[in-house]
Symmetry: C3
Subunit: 461 residues, 3 copies
Amino acid sequence: MENTGTDTLPLNMISSEEQETVCIFGTGDFGRSLAFKMLQCGYSIVFGSRNPRTSSLLPSGAEVLSYSEAAQKSDIIIIAVHRDHYDFLTALTEVLRGKILVDVSNNLKINQYPESNAEYLAQLVPGTRVVKAFNTISAWALQSGALDANRQVLVCGNDSKAKQRVMDIVRSLGLTPLDQGSLIAASDIENYPLQLFPMWRFPFCLSAVLCVFFFVYSVIRDIIYPYVYDKKDNTFRLAVSIPNRVFPIVALMLLALVYLPGIIAAILQLYRGTKYRRFPDWLDHWMLCRKQLGLIALGFAFLHVIYTLVIPIRYYVRWRLRNVTVTQAIAKKENPFITSQAWLSDSYLSLGILGFFFFVLLGITSLPSVSNMVNWREFRFVQSKLGYVTLILCTAHTLIYGGDRFLKPSNLKWYLPLAHVLALIIPCTVLVIKFLLILPCIDKPLTRIRQGWERSSKLSK
Amino acid sequence: MENTGTDTLPLNMISSEEQETVCIFGTGDFGRSLAFKMLQCGYSIVFGSRNPRTSSLLPSGAEVLSYSEAAQKSDIIIIAVHRDHYDFLTALTEVLRGKILVDVSNNLKINQYPESNAEYLAQLVPGTRVVKAFNTISAWALQSGALDANRQVLVCGNDSKAKQRVMDIVRSLGLTPLDQGSLIAASDIENYPLQLFPMWRFPFCLSAVLCVFFFVYSVIRDIIYPYVYDKKDNTFRLAVSIPNRVFPIVALMLLALVYLPGIIAAILQLYRGTKYRRFPDWLDHWMLCRKQLGLIALGFAFLHVIYTLVIPIRYYVRWRLRNVTVTQAIAKKENPFITSQAWLSDSYLSLGILGFFFFVLLGITSLPSVSNMVNWREFRFVQSKLGYVTLILCTAHTLIYGGDRFLKPSNLKWYLPLAHVLALIIPCTVLVIKFLLILPCIDKPLTRIRQGWERSSKLSK
Amino acid sequence: MENTGTDTLPLNMISSEEQETVCIFGTGDFGRSLAFKMLQCGYSIVFGSRNPRTSSLLPSGAEVLSYSEAAQKSDIIIIAVHRDHYDFLTALTEVLRGKILVDVSNNLKINQYPESNAEYLAQLVPGTRVVKAFNTISAWALQSGALDANRQVLVCGNDSKAKQRVMDIVRSLGLTPLDQGSLIAASDIENYPLQLFPMWRFPFCLSAVLCVFFFVYSVIRDIIYPYVYDKKDNTFRLAVSIPNRVFPIVALMLLALVYLPGIIAAILQLYRGTKYRRFPDWLDHWMLCRKQLGLIALGFAFLHVIYTLVIPIRYYVRWRLRNVTVTQAIAKKENPFITSQAWLSDSYLSLGILGFFFFVLLGITSLPSVSNMVNWREFRFVQSKLGYVTLILCTAHTLIYGGDRFLKPSNLKWYLPLAHVLALIIPCTVLVIKFLLILPCIDKPLTRIRQGWERSSKLSK
C-alpha cells in the first residue's frame, strides 16, 4: 500500500492508523475469506489458531500465532469459530479483558439456542465488549466481490464506541453497516439469514388455498358436469381455460383482501370511539402483509392478462371460430351486428386493461427504491387512492364480463353459480363499505378519532 | 438491556454512553410514538408536560416531569408540540440555554408561515441550538416498524455538532439521516411532506390536454362524421377504438417532447456561441421534467400495446372478420396474397414492438436503484442514444402504419387529416433537426462550445 | 446563513466550524460548479488562479487569490486542473505541506497513464495528504441539482483522517461518499466514469453471435429453401416470423448458459475432491456475468412474447386463416375437433406463459433495491430454485411446441433440422446433469466438499 506523502510527516498517529491490525480467531472458511478481504483493504491480519502453523490456504501476509499471542496484537478480535467451540475462550478471559470481540457466527435453525450466540459469548468472557456483525455476509461474496449479494451488515452491541470501530471496518471493506441497537437485537440478527420470506408465508398459503378451491370448483363446473351430462371431453381445458378462470378470481379476491383490513380497522375505531386501543393480533398481522398480498394479486393478474391475450392463438378457439364461420357461410345466414354486444365486449376489455395498468403502477411504487423516493403523502395517495381506483375498475370489469349471464338459472350447474360470481362478493362488500365510510356523516367523526380525539374522555389533541 | 461485560469495567465513559437520556416536550401522538421507538433502541426517555402525571398511554419506563425539570435531565430536547404552542418555551430560555432543541413539527399547508417553524423556534429561544428533524416520518411508521414508509429523515441545522448528535439518534433508530445543510433549508424540509408529486404537475397537465384534444378530434372523425354522413352508430368505439387512437399519439408526442428541449438548448448555444448564458426559465423547467414526461409517455405506450393486443378478442373485430370471410365464401371469390400488404403489416408491427422494447429499457434505467448503479457515461448512453433509437423506431412505426393512406384526400373528413398525421409533426421535426446537429460541420463547433469555448472571448479551457 | 442562537454563545468552536473555508485551485468549469454548490451549502470558498482577478463567471462570494495566498487560507485544497498542468504544484510544496489535496481529475481513456492521477500528484508534492474524490460527478449535475445523476462519490486515500474530512464535505453537499480504500484504488476510480457497461461486453457479443447465426439459419430454411424449391416469395417473413424464431431460441440458450457454469463448477469440484483450488479464469469470468446473461435472455423472451401475441393481427396470418376457412366452407368439409391437438396447443402455450412469468420474477429480484432487501438464503432460493423451474418450463415449452414434427425427415431441409431443435441441446444437457447432481449419491459428497471437506487431506471443518 502506498504511503507516499505520509512517510515524511512526523505525526505518529497517521502511521498507526493505516496498518490497523485485526486478529481473527479460527482459520476456517469464513475466517480466511474475511482475512483475504481485509488484507485487500489495507488491514494487517493476525490469525489465532489451535495449530499455529502456516497453511497454504491462508492468505499470504497474515501471521498465524497461538490464541493468546494473537490476542495481544490487536484491540479487535473476530471470533470466527462455531458456538460449540466458544469454551476455549474462558481460559483467555484475562488476555481478552477490555478488547472488542466480534461475533460472526450463524446457527442452523431459527432460535436454536435459548440465548443468542453473541449474548452467550458475552456471558462466557466478561470484561470484553461484544459486537455482533458480519453474519449476513457469505464467504463466497467476500472472496469474489460479487455485488449481487447483500452488502448490508447488521451490527449490534452494547458499547457504542466498540460498535463504531466495527462499523468503520465494515465500511472500509466496501459494505454497508446498519446499526440495530444493543446486544438484545443479536437474536434477530442471527435469525435474519435463516428466514425464508417470513412475511410471505400467510399470503402464499392463502393464495394456494384460494387457487385450489377455485380450481376444483371450475373443474367440477367445466369438465365434470359437461362429461356427466353431455359426455363431452373437456379435459384439454385444464391447460389454459381453467387457469384463466382461476387466476383472475384469485387476483380480484386478494386485491380486495388488501383493502379489507383498513375497512375493518376503521369500523373498529368508530365502534370503540378511539384509536388508542390496540387492534386484535390477527388484524395487525393482516395489515402488515398487505403489500405481499397485493404483489401476489398483481402476479395473478399478470398471468390472467397473458392467458387472455393468447386466446386467439389457441387451436381450440380457432377451430370454434372457424366452425361458426363455416356454418354461417354454408347456411348463407345473416349475422347482424349487435351494438349492445359490441359495447359489452369493448367495455369489459377496456375496464380490465385500465385496471391492470393502475395495478402495475401500484406494483412499481412498491419497489423499495421508488417507495424511498416519495414522501408519506405521495405514498398514501398512490397506494390508497390509486388502489381503490384499481379495485373499482377490476370489479367493474368482472361485473360487466358476466353481462346478463349473471344469475340466470341456466348458468347454475348443480346449484353452483358461475365462479366469478363468488369472486365478486368480497370486492363489492369492500367497495360498498368504503363508500359508506367516505360519506361526510361518517368520515368526520372518523377523521377526528384518527387525529387523537377520544369519545369517552376529554383528552383532545 | 444487557450490560454484561461492561459492569465490571472501571471505565466511566461506557456507562454514561449507553443510557443516553433524551427529553421530549409534549405527550401527543407523535411524541409518544417517538418515545416508544427510542425506548426500544436503548434510550432513556423523560417527558416534559403541562400536566406531569403518568398516563396509561405513555410507554412504560418513561418519566413524566414538568418542563423545566425534564429539560435539566438531558442535553437534547425534542419539541413535539404544534408551532401554535411554542410560546411557553420563551419562559424556559434560561433552562434551555446551550441545549439542542429538535423541531419535529409539520404544517398543514405549503409555506403556511413566512418563516419556517425551526427558524421561528430559534428566534423564540436564543441561546439554543435548533436542529430540524423527524418531520418526514409518520407516527404509525415509528410504532409499527413498517418498512414501506420512507425511512429517510431530512436533518438540517446551523450547528454541526448538534446535527451530528441528532443524526446519531436517527441512525440508532434504524432510520437514514440526510443532511440538508443549515437552518435555511428548514422551509424546504417542512414543505417536503406536503408536496404531492410537484415535478409531475406540468407533465400530467400537458398529457391531459393532449388526451382531451385528440379524444375530441377522434370522436369528431370516427363517430360524429360517420353518423352525420352514413347514419352509422359507432358509439361503441368509445371503449377501445378511440382510446387506442389517442394513447399512441399522446405517447409519441410526449416522447418527442422529451428530446425537444435538448435540441432547443443546442440551437441556443450555437446561436449565442457560448454555454455560459443561462437558459430561459421555461426551458430550464422543461429540462428538469424530461424524466416525468418520458415515464408518462411509457405509460401511454404500454396502454396502447395492450389495447392493440386485445383487438382479436373484441366482438366487433370478430364480427367484421367473420363477415368478410362469409362474404368471400358465398361469392366464391379468390383472395390473392398481396405481398406488399404483408410487408407493410409485418413491418409496422415489428417496428412498434422493437420501439416499445427499447422504451421499456429506458423506463427500467430510470428506476432510482438502477440509475444509481450506472456511471454518468453509461446513463447518458442509455438515455440519449437508446432514447433516440426509440424515437426513430416509434416514428417509423407510425409512418408505416399509415401506409399509403397518409394524405389521400379521401381520408380528409371535414378537412381534418388522420389523427396520427398530426402526431407525426413534432417527432419528425425533432429527428430532422437532431440529424442536422449530428453533421460534423455543426457538431464540431457545438462540442467546442460545450467544453467551455466561447465565440466572443479568448477564454478557452 | 442564519446564525440565530449561536452568536451569543461563548463557545468558539461553533463559529469556526460553520464557515469552513475550502480552497479550489483552478477556475475552469468543474471548479466553478463545485464552488457554486459548496457556497450553497455554507462553505467559504477561495479560488487559487494564475490570473487572480475576479471574473463574472465565478460565483459571487468567492475570493480569487494567487495560488500561494489561497493555499494558506485553508486546510483542504481541491485541485481542479488537468493532470497536464500539475507541474506548477511542485513550486508550492512548502506552502502545501501537511495539507489535504483533493484530486478531482478525469482522463479521456482508460489507463491513459502508467500511474493514476492521484498517485502522480502524491509523488509531485510529497508531504501532502492526497485524497481522490468527486471525479464521478458531472459539473452539470452539481449546478442543476439533477437527482437522476449518480450521487455516489467514490473516495480513496491513504490517510484516513483526511479521507474523513473529504467525506464530510461530500455528505454536506448532499452526495453519498463511498470509501474505496487506500490510494491504490485511485486507478479504478479514475477508470470508473470511462467504462461503458464492462460486464455486459461478453454477454452482448455472445447474444449478437447467436442472433446472427440463427437468423442466417432461419433465412436459409424459411426463405431461401422455399424460393429454390417452390419459387415462393417468403421475404416478408423477415419482419416478424424470422425474429420470432430467433429470439426465443437465443433466450433459451442464454438462460441455459446462466446455469451451465454452476454445473461445470460442481463437476470440477467433484472431480478434484476439493473446493479450494481456483477455477479456470474463463469459468470465473463466466460466473461473474451470469446476471447479465440472464437479463439479456429475459429481454429476448419479452420480445418473443410480444411477437407471438401480435400473430393474430398480422395480415399474413389473417389471410391464411381466411383462406383455410373459405376453402373448407366451399368444399363443405367437416373439420373434426382433434383433442390431442388442443392439448398440445394449450399445453405449450400454458408452459410458455408460466415460464415467462417466473422469468420476469427472476428479473425483478435482480433489481438492485430488491436484491438488497432479501438475505442470502432468500436470494439463492429465488435465483437458483426458481431459476431452474424457469429453465424446466421453457425447455418443456420448446419441446412440446415441436410436437411430433421434431425429427421427422420431412422437416430436414438440406439436412438442417428445425432451428429450435438446435436450441434444445444445451438446456436439456444442463437439466439432465443437474438432475444427476441432485441424486443423493452425488449430492452428499458435493455438499461435504462445499462445506470444506477435502478428499486428499484430513483437514475437515
